[in-house]
Symmetry: C4
Subunit: 125 residues, 4 copies
């Protein structure tokens, strides 16, 4: 099976809760873009971050290798900048190969756990 | 990339849990319509709220500027009216420019945190 | 705007957690099919419930009036039967008018709150 | 109604939290692929699991009988191998009959409950 997915995806929600960053890395509140490249060619992915009150940031560039998944943490992005916590954002994900994208947040403020997830929005091109 | 998204979206779920409104604003139970306008033209958005047992309300009008995201809290809407808490509703979102919409609820009743999120339903036109 | 939505929808997930049914009705663990009828004609909706190890049940019949939303609790269905708790199911929702469907679960086992939600799957006809 | 769903689906998110496996089986952190076969013919389903840093695993084969739902727990898969906990993955689900797929995670680390769910991504063929 080839051509699994789309080349452009949108995640309209985006928010990194303020949190205690000394917690276990896996349990610090975070968001991920889970990207599957089921194809035979490595995917070059460029992510653009949109904010409420300033110009977009990016592109943030990552590679999703052929036949691999990448669960990219937004709080791990540093180049060209970091995404501030406690700040609304959205992301536009552009790949040169078809991929599938799902968005997940773990919110551990207060010591409990909350999760959300959704398929991202695939843009027809 | 132009024409990212659709002009009409539906969020069939809608519920603002009853809550202690003296809590920190960010932690009061709420719902948001996260809207990305990735295009070059400001989007004029009209939201219509449907209820279980009375006529729809609205339009509630907001602008999502070009290249910006707006995470609109439903409990912040006041014109032409407010949405009651503890009341089932749905929303129809109509924009004059293509946007992408995602729906999120934070429920903090009882002191913990629960989250839900989904891509909204894009209407073909 | 007319023809908002589709006439056939699927919710593949379905599970009513075992719970203390003497709690406040709103906080008893439950699932809902949130259905918006944005059109001008009442929608007659028939729901069929699929199980793991027995024949499907239904149809369960409800009306979603024109310009109204109905957040239908699956644990409130009684005709032709009730859906057992602690039992996997799926639902097929067939309407004679276009509607939009979103699926939500509230799980309050143990005293906390957890939520999930997703747009249902719209079937092309 | 025939042909409800698609034959190829993707769940880009996938993660089995590390957990105390001596808890009640239903409350051990897990993920499910909820699959509805609303048609008249049994569906033969093959699942391929993609990882971050090694070749894909599978196929894992299951049958979703006609007119039945199967809520498949990923932590119950054993043939040809098990999926490790605390490891990012994605899944590609290929069926010989149309089905509908929804993805759910229950995370009970720490004693509370968190849930996520989304419709999976249907691949056009």
């Amino acid at each position: 099976v080839q051509n699994i997915g789309k080349k452009i995806w949108v995640i309209a929600e985006g928010y990194l809760p303020p949190d205690d960053l000394t917690k276990s890395h896996q349990l610090v509140s975070h968001e991920t873009a889970c990207m599957l490249n089921a194809g035979d060619v490595d995917a070059n992915v460029a992510i653009k971050i949109f904010y409420k009150d300033r110009d977009p940031a990016g592109p943030f560039k990552v590679i999703v290798p052929a036949h691999r998944t990448l669960h990219l943490r937004f709080d791990g992005l540093t180049d060209p900048e970091t995404i501030p916590r406690d700040c609304d954002y959205s992301s536009l994900i552009i790949s040169d190969q078809p991929i599938v994208v799902q968005h997940t947040r773990l919110d551990s403020r207060g010591g409990g756990l909350a999760l959300l997830s959704t398929i991202a929005y695939p843009v027809e091109t």
